[in-house]
Symmetry: C2
Subunit: 173 residues, 2 copies
């Protein structure tokens, strides 16, 4: 299959937003999606953007049954390790079901690695759910380590009320 | 105890670098630290910095036994959730042992939450090692959720050879 991986433009945000929702449906949590393409445009295409995004595109003659030519995306951002320095974090990697098994996911993943390497990143990090065996196998087969298993890392989050409580307790000037 | 939490300056990088090493010694992995204060200066004080940093400072008359007045730091960066949007990630939170139990760690944590909230972040994420019970208890007591326990998130990483392999396989233009 012919496909091209390229940086997303502001005009791709509607397509990316559609696929974010498709991914959430696959993960059985569509009501968790609170952001729209407007927020993606605002947050990804400003000075100091909060994320970067690549899309996978197929030629018009290979479009999806519903008429889409943008059929996958990888959304990532730069992070930092105080031990090793510059790193890249892959938040989402998605390929539409009818385009899977054609190397598009691998193409997106490898392109993120390449873009990161150009910025001198020494790590590519991501998270997967433990029930998502296809994704875990996909990454582990390509040489990734599962640090939750090997080193015991736990992922911790403050949000909603617990985040507000911290804010209220912040030291004043 | 009197202490002040303020944004780190380029001139603080030597102190932050010293405390990064102290934290790695506490975590029994000092040989993992590959970056120096020069890298911190380059990566944190450029256009589109890879991280942000706060430091905790005590008055000269309360300096540490070794003469330090910068006694803690919080290093963080902005990330993005495709479900909820802007987020902040706390990479390191450290207070020198002789200054613990005085609210400095909480002050740093809350200040990161406040800075994040000003940027409209809806999540504050971080990772802890499962053997590090004091830290896990510290966060959970303040209302954080352990998403590895509650939702089964695993932390995955490519680095070294596995990262290079991805880069070599990236699709060409």
């Amino acid at each position: 299959m012919n496909f091209k991986v390229r940086p997303a433009t502001r005009e791709d945000c509607r397509e990316v937003s559609r696929m974010i929702m498709e991914l959430a449906v696959y993960e059985k949590m569509p009501d968790q999606v609170k952001i729209s393409h407007e927020e993606l445009e605002r947050d990804g295409f400003c000075q100091n953007p909060f994320f970067q995004c690549l899309v996978a595109e197929v030629p018009e003659e290979q479009k999806s049954t519903e008429g889409f030519t943008v059929v996958g995306y990888a959304l990532y951002f730069y992070t930092y390790s105080t031990w090793e320095g510059r790193s890249v974090y892959l938040e989402d990697l998605y390929v539409m079901p009818e385009f899977r098994g054609k190397g598009i996911g691998k193409g997106l993943l490898c392109k993120v690695a390449e873009v990161g390497k150009e910025k001198e990143c020494v790590r590519l990090n991501l998270s997967v759910l433990n029930w998502n065996t296809p994704s875990r196998d996909f990454y582990l087969a390509k040489g990734a380590q599962d640090l939750t298993v090997s080193e015991g890392w736990h992922f911790i989050r403050f949000d909603g009320q617990s985040l507000d409580n911290l804010v209220s307790a912040a030291p004043k000037e």
